[in-house]
Symmetry: C2
Subunit: 197 residues, 2 copies
DNA sequence: CTGGTATCTGTCACTCGGTGACACTATAGA
DNA sequence: TCTATAGTGTCACCGAGTGACAGATACCAG
């Protein structure tokens, strides 16, 4: 019907692997957990695990890393008279709202912060994504900005995002992320006149 | 005399490994080059390679990644009446000046940008280093800022650094990094009143 | 219901990054 | 010259990830 049972089961299996794996990671550490441990706990082979996730790290970002296409699309959809910085603030603010502040997410973020390999992988993905955001920012109708400025603002926006995430974890999930984000974007005031030689 | 011949030869060997390795990486790609390739080209065993570099990635950052202790020390040494943002600008500007704009550095940066694994490793190191910078910023006598603001400014400063690096590579090393850095720090104007509930 | 086809799975074998242990050699320093 | 120390090769090993093959399973036609 409409969208296939196979895909549904596949996503269900993915979700269960992720849940089992993160449980193991939190309990005994990322490095002390082998893929075979995960596969066995999920009732499958090591080979089958890699048919659902390309790397051992990716299983962690399954529920978080929605570094979405939607953000890129939303940027293009913002009104043309809006400045690039406000555009980023609105789009990323809306994106952040969608990540529900569950205990699961908090545990995952803690796990990432405590595991260098995961930090690396996260920023690796972020970098690819950032390039697309920067391009979207440049391609926006109305204002035209050079590549350097687009990169600068995009990097700065993710800098705010990272700081918000850190502070949120530091407060055990009690801080209001939207307030932190707004504060961060306000403190990094962007000079409106983007003139240059 | 005074500082040992052994250390000198060790550093020389390190440098030669790095040179040989980067040459291979540039010619045939990072992923298509095995550690045994490097070791053989440098006249040693795989095992000996790992006695000089902890990972295959680290060999690339040998000449670049001086994410130094000096930066952290310099932050503490800045005059107390200086704001945190200006402090970061001065220290990182001085740090950046020390990286001579050689063709070798340019090729290395290109290599990093083209290789996801290297991007990940770079940001992984950056993250550890950033934590220390943020702590140094908080520990500065005179002004006291909260952890969130310190993280925010530190992240933003590295955001500028990354944008400068990208633009510099994009211009084939012809752009003036100091000018870009100054422009970046100026455009991200930090609100001087850091008041909060 | 039946057959064909695409998909999922386990098994095996393999590559590559990285590590521990051991024996051997060269060197620094008394 | 003798001894402690550091560097080296060899070997065996682990874990992440991949390619190939064969068997099972589910979808969809007729």
């Amino acid at each position: 019907m409409g969208e296939g049972l196979r895909e549904r089961t596949r996503r269900a299996v993915r979700a269960e692997i992720a849940e089992v794996a993160i449980g193991l990671f939190v309990r005994q550490g990322f490095d002390n957990t082998t893929v075979e441990d995960i596969a066995q706990a999920a009732g499958m082979t090591k080979r089958s695990f890699f048919r659902y996730f390309a790397t051992k790290e990716d299983v962690v970002f399954d529920g978080v890393d929605l570094t979405g296409e939607k953000v890129v699309a939303d940027i293009a959809a913002r009104p043309a008279e809006e400045g690039p910085w406000e555009c980023l603030q609105h789009v990323l603010g809306a994106w952040q709202e969608e990540i529900h502040a569950s205990e699961q997410v908090l545990a995952t973020l803690r796990l990432i912060e405590a595991t260098p390999a995961l930090v690396g992988r996260l920023h690796q993905r972020r970098t690819e994504w950032r390039r697309r955001v920067s391009d979207a920012l440049q391609g926006r109708p109305g204002v035209d900005i050079d590549a350097y400025t687009a990169d600068l603002l995009t990097n700065a926006a993710t800098a705010v995002l990272d700081a918000v995430s850190s502070e949120w974890v530091r407060s055990d999930g009690k801080a209001k992320r939207s307030a932190l984000l707004e504060q961060g974007f306000r403190q990094l005031h962007v000079d409106p006149n983007l003139r240059q030689a």
